[in-house]
């Protein structure tokens, strides 16, 4: 006798129920999969721009028929088929110089961000995990460091140490370190209160080991986002310093240096300032989009 109101169980067109919940896990692939990165548009575009910059910088010798230091007869020649972006006062090919400048710019920016990432994370993690006096001392030291205007401190340090690539990386690493230390500390403070930290200690894991094995992986996401955003500031800082003559020294090309050289002939040859400016904007926008995209992808709370 059919019911007046058949339930879903009785109806013929009820949705098929998967026979066994772990069926999708056959072969164990799902189990091994790490939580996957959720790609989004800014992340894809940003990553593509960053990747393109890196590839162009690496492939500079093959992409360009010129040498960055090669001096041609034609100085200040406008963009043409032979010199795609024209030449500068000395007759050097602008496109070639931009591609080569990308190398030093990206190396300085990425290495200094990496240095800041590593040192800042160690300091922030220790401060957050130790808490109390250690925490207070470390954080006040960072306050002092951050109290200086960033660019001024960078200029003073580079001027004192001498403008070369290792000193630039060291200075900028120091400059950006507090950003990572603060993010790492704040995340550590919240993660260390989680039950699984107490559970790990209850299992006999030492406090030091808990810190790098259980706390560190859980605070990685905000730090990675911070790293991506720090690279953009590092690119700008490097450009500012080389604009002021404190970056990688001439004749090696830098974007900031190229803009500085172009100022005197701006009216005659605007492409000299525009093209390195565009290069800076391209890299900065790329890393910013990537950082924003990573934030959305890694942090479900947005």
């Amino acid at each position: 006798m059919a019911d007046a109101h058949p339930t879903l169980i009785d109806s013929a067109d009820r949705p098929a129920v998967p026979a066994d919940e772990p069926a999708a896990n056959e072969g164990g692939i799902r189990f091994l999969a790490r939580p996957r990165l959720r790609w989004n548009l800014p992340l894809a575009v940003g990553a593509a721009m960053v990747l393109l910059s890196i590839v162009l910088a690496l492939a500079a010798p093959w992409l360009s028929g010129h040498d960055p230091l090669e001096i041609a007869d034609a100085s200040l020649s406008p963009p043409s088929a032979h010199y795609w972006l024209g030449t500068d006062q000395l007759g050097r090919d602008v496109l070639t110089r931009i591609l080569y400048a990308a190398r030093s710019s990206l190396v300085v920016a990425c290495l200094s961000a990496a240095l800041a990432f590593a040192s800042g994370t160690v300091i922030g993690l220790s401060a957050g995990y130790a808490s109390g006096l250690v925490d207070a001392c470390l954080m006040r030291l960072l306050d002092i460091l951050q109290a200086f205007p960033a660019l001024l401190l960078a200029i003073a340090l580079v001027a004192a140490l001498g403008p070369n690539l290792p000193n630039l990386v060291l200075t900028m690493g120091l400059l950006f370190m507090p950003r990572f230390a603060r993010v790492a500390r704040a995340s550590t403070l919240s993660v260390r209160e989680r039950d699984y930290i107490a559970a790990a200690i209850g299992l006999g894991v030492s406090r030091a080991r808990t810190m790098y094995r259980h706390v560190l992986p859980n605070i990685a996401a905000p730090l990675i986002v911070e790293a991506s955003l720090t690279v953009t500031i590092a690119v700008l800082t490097e450009a500012s310093l080389s604009f002021l003559g404190l970056g990688v020294q001439p004749p090696d090309p830098t974007w900031g240096g190229m803009i500085a050289e172009s100022t005197s002939v701006m009216a005659l040859a605007p492409w000299l300032a525009l093209s390195p400016g565009f290069a800076i904007v391209f890299v900065v926008v790329g890393f910013t989009l990537m950082g924003d995209g990573l934030r959305d992808a890694l942090d479900p709370r947005g």
């Binding site: 189990f31 699984y196 790990a200 209850g202 006999g204 094995r213």
Partner: protein, 334 residues
């Protein structure tokens, strides 16, 4: 034979508004291979007692000098952090209340079990993995050789609690502390987890401290019981004796407050009036006096000590604790 003896355990928390005396002079005794139930209302200091035994109290909490936690000939309140690490997870293990948050989300459950094994035993990674799979099977997780590579978020609450138990049992501890292991689970899973704990206890011959506020669970699972109120143990003894004849008014009130099957809605539930006093300001005298229907004047003046009764030990002025004078006082008050 007592495996663990806690004497005069005091754990205080320094807060802005004063010193919170969460655990204030607790004595416990766990016999080898037996199960001790610790019951009490929220805020009575059960969990803090458990954490203190493992010395998992973080600042601003502190275990006061004069507290003793004797375990296998050592006073855990006095040993170094390094010695403790060798005991934790090895000789004493703990299962926490919240299975949903007690597993690290970034590691597979297998790796978390393996970490525990390899901290205390010299085994190869391969052997530890085999052992982890065995443990998962032991706690009743289906297809353990696959589940060992699962992340916590791929498991249900009940499964995670099973994993927590597997982690706790990895090194076959002599003592397992289970802090309300079933509170966060639904009723059918609760029964399964308790049954699992009971089986494992018998199989591995370990002692268990079971912290709960469910007297039914105590009656079913435990050999001994300690009733905590306001940071103190007010009564302890064997489950049989205490459930048959509770000697402390608080225990009696707790037992009376359990609703019975077949009660109608017309019958009022026997509740204990009032609330647990704040740990910032325990009342002087007996801490239960304000809510106790037998209280007389002396109860408010002087705290009673734990004394032997026919069911074990109780801290009440009505049970042998009273001096001649206060007994006379009781008579006149009544």
């Amino acid at each position: 034979m007592s495996l663990l003896r806690v004497e005069n355990l005091r754990t205080y928390f320094d807060t802005r508004s004063g010193v919170m005396k969460a655990v204030d002079g607790v004595d416990l005794d766990v016999r080898e291979g037996k199960t001790l139930g610790v019951v009490g209302e929220s805020g009575s200091g059960k969990s803090v007692t458990a954490l203190s035994i493992m010395r998992l109290i973080e600042r601003p909490g502190r275990i006061l000098p004069g507290s003793h936690i004797y375990f296998e000939g050592k006073d855990l309140a006095a040993v170094s952090e390094r010695e403790l690490e060798a005991v934790r997870g090895n000789r004493i293990s703990m299962v926490f209340q919240e299975p949903m948050t007690s597993l690290n989300p970034v590691h597979t459950v297998g790796n978390q079990i393996i970490e525990g094994i390899r901290l205390h035993r010299r085994t190869s990674a391969r052997q530890a993995r085999e052992r982890a799979i065995e443990l998962l099977e032991l706690v009743g997780i289906p297809s353990p050789e696959r589940r060992v590579d699962a992340f916590p978020h791929q498991m249900s609450g009940g499964m995670r609690q099973r994993v927590m138990i597997a982690m706790a049992l990895a090194c076959e501890p002599k003592l397992l502390i289970a802090d309300e292991p079933t509170t966060a689970l639904d009723v059918t899973i609760q029964a399964q987890i308790l049954e699992l704990l009971r089986q494992l206890r018998d199989r591995l011959a370990m002692a268990v401290i079971l912290i709960t506020h469910d007297l039914g669970v105590v009656a079913e699972m435990c050999d001994d019981v300690a009733v905590m109120y306001a940071g103190e143990v007010v009564e302890r003894g064997s489950v049989d004796a205490i459930f048959r004849s509770p000697q402390h008014p608080y225990t009696e009130a707790l037992l009376r407050s359990i609703p019975l099957l077949g009660m109608t809605q017309d019958e009022p539930l026997n509740v204990i009036p009032g609330v647990v006093p704040s740990a910032l300001h325990w009342p002087g005298g007996c801490r239960f006096a304000a809510r106790c229907s037998y209280a007389f004047q002396h109860c408010h003046r002087q705290p009673p000590a734990l004394v032997a009764t026919r069911s074990g030990f109780a801290a009440c002025w009505l049970r042998g604790n009273a001096t001649e004078r206060s007994q006379r006082g009781a008579a006149t008050d009544a």
